[in-house]
């Protein structure tokens, strides 16, 4: 920045190149951090599901009668009689080649099961997040701009209340309140209608309740952050300047205040991804939505440790990737961070 003012074109060129290497270093640093976190998730998955249970086979079969042969077979398949370092090596190499082991309850490859269940969860989480962000930010901006107005009080109150509501309970309430209006379970009707449009509508019909449940709890977070973020900007002098120029209130808000306040809220979308993922577990359990959350819920009955391990690694891994995206995005959006 400083060199470009003193020198001609060569200095500006140099400056640009320097900015380029610093960006590369920044990206490499963040990617390295994320990679370390992924390795940590891998180790944690092993610790949780192999080492803490002591004897995973005993944990999995604690609630059901099992014959000695079955036990021996299970021990053989999981390799629990091998030394721990050997088990960890097998697990890590399997994970790197996409092999997450075999489910104990369903006797199928865990990776295949997760692959089948991934898209329903992506659909649910994606729809709910987009709607929650739009709604939360809109309400947050309106509430902060007219601080302590009736609108602000009512919506902050509603958001705080919804924030205190356990997601699954809200889901159960909606189920009981809309008895019969919406399907209570699954993602498609048993007698699937013909045609693409009809099928899409059918999925949307099934999606309504789970999506509203998830939306209701997560929009509150976006709204409250957007509100407090805009409130922090409200005292700024550049807003007084904008008003002094004679800009309409609406323009001051849209062009000057909101863009500056948007940053924390945008990164929050990605940072809250872990919370949204947590929420899907219970919401999917309530509505039997055939995603990763329901898979977790079903796996708990065993407990099916290989399946739980697989879901844990996949969920935690995707949260870390989303977080990396948030950090990169923040740099693109905020010139102050870029300059630093």
């Amino acid at each position: 920045m400083t060199t470009s003012t003193t020198g001609g074109p060569p200095a500006a060129d140099l400056d640009e190149r320097r900015a380029g290497t610093s960006t590369a270093r920044f990206v490499a640093g963040k990617a390295g951090g994320a990679l370390a976190s992924l390795v940590f998730v891998m180790v944690l998955g092993f610790l949780l599901f192999r080492m803490i249970p002591g004897d995973p086979v005993a944990t999995m079969t604690r609630d059901r009668p099992t014959s000695p042969e079955q036990l021996a077979q299970l021990r053989e398949r999981l390799g629990v009689d091998e030394p721990l370092w050997r088990q960890f090596l097998d697990y890590a190499l399997g994970l790197l080649s996409g092999d997450l082991g075999t489910s104990y309850l369903y006797n199928r490859p865990v990776a295949t099961m997760i692959g089948e269940r991934l898209w329903p969860t992506v659909l649910l989480v994606g729809t709910a997040t987009v709607l929650a962000v739009a709604l939360g930010m809109w309400l947050g901006i309106r509430a902060a701009w007219k601080r302590d107005s009736a609108f602000d009080r009512v919506h902050t109150g509603v958001a705080l209340t919804l924030w205190s509501v356990p997601q699954f309970w809200l889901g159960l309430l909606l189920l009981i309140a809309t008895q019969g209006l919406f399907p209570s379970r699954g993602m498609r009707s048993p007698d699937l209608p013909e045609g693409f449009l009809a099928q899409t509508l059918d999925v949307a019909w099934h999606l309504t309740l789970p999506c509203v449940t998830l939306l209701a709890v997560i929009y509150a977070q976006y709204m409250l952050v957007m509100r407090s973020s805009l409130l922090e900007e409200m005292g700024s002098e550049y807003l007084t300047t904008a008003r002094a120029k004679g800009l309409r209130d609406d323009l001051v808000r849209r062009r000057h205040a909101v863009p500056n306040a948007l940053l924390p809220a945008v990164t929050l979308v990605f940072l809250q991804f872990g919370m949204v993922v947590s929420g899907t577990v219970t919401v999917e359990a309530v509505f039997s939505w055939p995603g990763l959350g329901l898979l977790t819920y079903d796996a708990l009955r065993g407990p099916d440790l290989p399946l739980l391990q697989g879901v844990f690694v996949v969920l935690a891994g995707s949260v870390i990737v989303m977080n990396l995206l948030a950090e990169l995005l923040y740099r693109v959006l905020d010139p102050r961070v870029r300059a630093a």
Binding site: I52, P166, L173, L175, S184
Partner: protein, 294 residues
């Protein structure tokens, strides 16, 4: 203890209390909480515990509210009012115990990460960030599914997964305090780590930790109900989460038994909302930046 430092702190506390009283939401939350805690502690004295026993249940299953059972009966013919009453004990116990664990770990990690320089603090910070982004509920589910079922497993699962936000907060606060001149003075006079942390950092950090704690209790109670709802709670005791689990798995929800669904859920909402209100009020009182806008 009438040293000037303590006198100053007592005056500060009185001032804070006066400001806190001015916040209507926070005061209302505090009153509701006090009432609930007193009722939960007195439960064995004012109600009959034998009503919780499935075998000696007197009512018919899934009866709507009536004069005899104000909130109706559950699938086993037990009074929903009594179950909700007793559920408060488990929820509060787990909520408080998990919070103590979580806040303890968080404060310790936060202060150590800020006070000591070099690689230990870098490692701690890295670990904190790692756990901060990880979906804590998924981690808690994993932990409680591999350990023996019981109340203390739930406490452990929530406590060891929810500390990172406290750690970040305490670290930031410790850094601001340690940059002040009086800390430098204490160092120059030969104050060791224990003296600096115990006499200067901790007292200054604690008020903020307190505000944070009330918020953590709320989320711990939600986490407890979620874990119980997923069938990971203590099978021998009644909690709000386990009531809701039975309501769904026994088909009472699809049968339209709203009286079974509303009380435990509303209880969670009221108690968590109260903690949130108190926490936000404390934050407003303690954080000068938020106050300035008023």
């Amino acid at each position: 203890m009438t040293s000037p430092a303590w006198q100053r702190r007592r005056t500060a506390a009185t001032d804070l209390w006066r400001e806190f009283r001015g916040n209507r939401g926070g005061l209302a939350g505090l009153c509701v909480l006090a009432a609930i805690v007193v009722l939960a502690v007195l439960a064995p004295l004012i109600t009959d515990e034998s009503g919780l026993d499935v075998i000696s249940a007197t009512g018919t299953p899934l009866q709507p509210p009536s004069g005899e059972y104000w909130l109706g009966t559950d699938v086993d013919g037990r009074s929903v009012l009594l179950l909700t009453f007793w559920g408060a004990r488990v929820s509060l116990l787990v909520g408080f115990a998990a919070t103590v664990l979580s806040v303890f770990i968080g404060t310790l990690v936060g202060i150590v990460a800020a006070h000591f320089q070099g690689w230990p603090s870098a490692v701690l910070l890295r670990v904190t960030d790692f756990f901060l982004v990880l979906p804590s509920l998924v981690l808690a589910i994993a932990l409680s599914s591999v350990l023996t079922k019981g109340i203390w497993t739930i406490v452990l699962a929530i406590g060891v997964t929810s500390w990172p936000s406290t750690a970040r907060l305490v670290r930031a606060q410790t850094l601001t305090i340690e940059s002040r001149p009086y800390i430098e003075r204490a160092k120059a006079l030969g104050g060791g780590h224990a003296h600096l942390i115990g006499k200067h950092v901790l007292p200054a950090v604690l008020p903020l930790v307190l505000a944070n704690t009330t918020l953590v209790v709320g989320s711990s109670i939600i986490a407890e109900s979620t874990l119980s709802f997923l069938g990971l709670g203590d099978p021998t005791s009644v909690s709000w989460g386990s009531m809701l689990q039975t309501a769904l798995s026994s088909g009472a929800v699809t049968a339209g038994a709203w009286w079974y669904l509303l009380p435990p859920g509303l209880a969670i909402v009221v108690i968590v909302l109260s903690f949130t209100l108190v926490g936000r009020a404390l934050e407003t009182v303690l954080n000068p930046r938020l106050k300035a806008g008023r």
